[in-house]
Subunit: 246 residues, 2 copies
């Protein structure tokens, strides 16, 4: 299949396909004597994968790393895409809900906080990086990050945002039993997030939870998201680490 045929089939530009070839993301399996690109069925399957990652906001460099990883598995990736797309749908549902609330607010029928006005927006450059790391590892990301020992402002901000989001998520369920499924699901998200930036064993994770209580500054920072959250997290982390989920 020639370049324009692929471009028309997929509704992307010829330039896009050239670009993907240039950066080694999608190399046509055949090139004619005149230099024309010919794409095979397998090229199209790879392109489908690439487009799923693009839809989810992954940068092309990252997509290339993931797809060229020997452990990459298309079936597994498709399942992960599906779950990420469902999360994106939840995000859009939240945006729609924000619109509904804003319309009521404008009619004077409902008050809404500043925070509520922005619920659902997520412009982080790659919101699914944490999950990608869990599946495809850290190596490429660490290599790509030229400053291994100092955290850039972006990383710190990303860190902080992801922290805050997870703290809020956990605050919502802090009155539940720490062994409950919902509590363990949420604390798992915390575990995944921490492992995006560091490398915590379950044991270390439990120890970290203890620190949230032992150090008053930690407790204070965490409890601003909801009173008693630090204690709840400590307990949920212990349950998680010991595999004692109900």
């Amino acid at each position: 299949m020639k370049v324009k045929e692929v471009a028309d089939l997929v509704c992307i530009s010829v330039r896009t396909l050239h670009h993907y070839d240039e950066i080694g993301l999608l190399t046509p399996d055949e090139v004619t004597e005149a230099g024309y690109r010919i794409y095979s069925e397998e090229n199209l399957e790879n392109l489908q994968q690439i487009l799923f990652f693009r839809e989810l906001g992954f940068p092309l460099k990252r997509i290339k790393e993931i797809i060229h990883d020997p452990s990459f598995n298309k079936t597994e990736a498709l399942k992960l895409h599906k779950s990420m797309l469902m999360k994106k749908q939840e995000q859009l549902n939240q945006l729609i809900d924000t619109i509904d609330k804003t319309l009521l607010n404008m009619k004077g029928e409902r008050q809404m906080s500043d925070k509520e006005k922005f619920a659902g927006f997520d412009f982080s450059s790659n919101p699914y990086e944490a999950e990608a790391r869990e599946r495809w590892g850290n190596k490429a990301v660490d290599d790509a990050n030229t400053k291994l020992n100092e955290k850039s402002q972006k990383e710190m901000r990303q860190f902080q945002e992801a922290f805050n989001e997870t703290f809020r998520s956990l605050a919502e369920v802090r009155h539940e039993d720490p062994t409950a499924a919902i509590s363990q699901e949420r604390i798992h998200e915390w575990y995944v997030l921490l492992n995006s930036f560091g490398n915590y064993s379950k044991k270390a994770f439990k120890g970290l939870g203890e620190m949230y209580i032992a150090d008053e500054r930690f407790t204070k920072n965490i409890d601003q998201f909801g009173e008693g959250l630090a204690v709840f997290m400590r307990d949920a982390m212990a349950v998680y680490a010991e595999g004692l989920k109900k």
Copy 2:
């Protein structure tokens, strides 16, 4: 509210807010003697609008045009955002469906065409431009388009893609009665699309439909999307123009 407070509230960067200020998209209502930006409640409401447009892929220049248009109405915009977000939900549903079909295909339980493999992807730079034009007019877009008389390759491609998409959409319902609601909804999309690039009255629209039959090349091109589509469109366009919908 100071710049970092807004950035944290909304989960965007301080640099983003500076950029929006620089380009005149979001100008803080107050600046202190030290030059600090202070954002008002109305600034936050405008920022919410901006973020809705961003979520839908509008370029910042276009957002600025729309928001500064005297006829701009926040309530109306919110309703339009909601409908566009629902369309995006449908697109994600289609992507999820594509994943499900691809997984079955990989198991050998189902065949799928190349076209099916790419159903749901839409990377056009601004998929909702046609609807935006319907609401907020053509002037700014025409001004921004420096080449008023010659169509760039991009515009031709955009044209062609939008054409193809609409033809497919219409082909799906070509066996329906041309006066049926679904037929008239689809042909309305065609009308809107044509008016993105030109300026057709309903009468001219009907005349165009006649041409689809009168000129054999038109018929041939259109019917490749589904046999009998050209006749169906001619009839549906006549019904539409005369307001004879069931």
